[in-house]
Symmetry: C2
Subunit: 311 residues, 2 copies
DNA sequence: CTATGGACACAACCGTTGGTTGTGGCCGGC
DNA sequence: GCCGGCCACAACCAACGGTTGTGTCCATAG
């Protein structure tokens, strides 16, 4: 099935006859007839009843029409998503389960008319390069890693701190705890596969390890978060860190336990980054939205690396 | 753009390489390469970065991917909408602005997982034939017109009464009234183009006219409700009837006035019709939903034709 | 009843698209 | 430095999709 055929179907349905639809599409009536016939053959149902003065939709055709329109709308958006200039606002988040992901969902709810695309880049270096090249419009990242100050043309503003929680399987020693302190975690195996040295998230966990004497293992291939959750659920000696789910769907069926960490609570600092000269109107809207919805921040009892920009 | 290409793109993105995607799609690697290249050429952007051990998405590719998936989902639903057997529940409503339309929206909100298609048939005769043939699963109609009892195999249940309101332009004599009685409308020109003799809605208005001495004009071609509203808005001497909008969007910008009609309030009686033997599981859900959400009916002060089935 | 015009379907023809096979280049790993 | 995996390019070919020409059906007018 190709969209030209669908477009033809919609045009014919709107016009009420093939001839006019053909004129609109700048093809012959015979071409429209053939396209519709092919579509009907593919679907296995008759879409039009041909009459002496046109063609009108059958019941099947009526049922199909809104779906066809939707198809064209979605195709339109798909093309727009990569159109250079006036494309949807494109924002990088660190992970789909991270807090910025939830923020973007909230932004979308508040501004459903603003076209959005969310991408996930590798690290802040990639993100900054993408921002400077114009490939993306904004990025939620932790700044600023020592030795890597933000370039002059990149602006940033702190957005929120995401508290980390301990994630264990049901058989883990700490599974029953209502909360744990960072000091209690010393000696436990914290497994976070996929940490790549040199990234800003690696720097975050390096600092966390150095300051509280934790042992975080980054060994083994990263098969994705689902595989990670499976392993955590089944391995009594293993735990991992995960951002506190705000409103995200909590993966069910694993018997996993979330345990708040206290004294202090490690928080992952998300800032919004964008290019000084980016004229995208939706970018200003996003910044305003984030500024307006940012809850008053209470840093008491939390920990973040010293290099985090003031907030 | 055709959906085969989109499917190829998604398969390649999922596989991370063209070769494997080609195997999945049962074509050669070269075909996948050509399809992706064509898609990139159409969109004007590069979607993959080719490496020695596969192909990974560019930022544009990442932005495009969810749209591509959505496109395939919508296409799937579009095909399903006309698939014989196990297709979405197909329900006929009398008009898109009518109360049953709102009911179906409420049903969709309550059961977003149930696939729905709403169609608009000509009259109850067509609807009953469509129900008996299996082309539709249910219909909201007014029953039972004199001389046309429902066939044995069609079941029906009263659902709701839709109060009619008077619709006038701002310059109409009654534009400022907070409400009008049916008696007051005698002598005023009520214009309802598109009424076709022999239909059940014509029978309804025939009875309304006969009982209260109104004059309803059905003259002139029916150019659709938008054209109707335009004319009503601009013509001081003309008014029309329209169902009371429950939560529908009220057409703005015309300066139109809605005026409740009282003593009595004419109500249009909607019943749900379906085939005795229809096994569609969603049909039972719809009936249960309607039964549960039907507000307690108060027929006091309302008018409907005598032939309406008891409620 | 017939003539006419409008609208769609069918047939023949043909260019372009999209597939295959064959081959070459590039990169990473052994 | 060779080998293997993966992708791109070229040549070839079938099939799809378009056009022109023609036939059929139906509604309307004479």
């Amino acid at each position: 099935m190709d969209l030209g055929t669908v477009r033809t179907f919609v045009a014919a349905a709107d016009a009420g006859q093939f001839q006019e639809a053909a004129a609109e599409l700048a093809v012959t009536q015979q071409a429209v007839s053939k396209r519709i016939a092919a579509l009907e053959s593919n679907l296995g149902v008759r879409l039009f009843t041909r009459t002496a003065r046109g063609a009108e939709l059958t019941i099947d055709g009526q049922a199909f029409l809104p779906h066809a329109r939707e198809l064209l709308r979605v195709a339109e958006r798909a093309v727009a998503s990569v159109r250079p200039g006036r494309r949807p606002l494109r924002v990088d988040v660190i992970a789909s389960r991270s807090a910025p992901s939830g923020l973007m969902r909230g932004f979308h709810r508040a501004h459903p008319d603003i076209e959005l695309d969310v991408v996930m880049l590798f690290d802040i270096e990639t993100a900054v390069a993408a921002i400077r090249s114009g490939a993306i419009d904004a990025s939620f990242r932790a700044v600023a890693v020592p030795g890597r100050p933000l370039p002059e043309d990149i602006e940033s503003v702190w957005v929120l701190d995401e508290p980390l929680q301990l994630l264990t399987g049901p058989a883990h020693m700490l599974a029953g705890a209502r909360s744990v302190t960072l000091a209690q975690l010393a000696g436990h195996r914290i497994w976070m596969p996929g940490i790549v040295p040199g990234t800003e998230w690696a720097a975050y966990y390096d600092d966390l390890v150095a300051e509280f004497g934790l042992t975080i293992e980054a060994t083994g291939p990263n098969f994705g978060s689902d595989a990670l959750l499976d392993t955590i659920a089944d391995t009594p000696a293993l735990a991992t860190f995960m951002g506190e789910p705000t409103r995200l769907i909590w993966p069910a069926g694993h018997g996993l336990r979330r345990i708040p960490v206290t004294d202090p609570t490690p928080v992952y600092p998300h800032s919004l980054l964008w290019h000084r000269d980016n004229p995208h109107p939706a970018l200003a809207t996003l910044r305003a939205h984030l500024a307006a919805t940012a809850a008053g921040h209470d840093a008491a009892g939390t920990w973040a690396p010293g290099w985090v920009i003031p907030r």
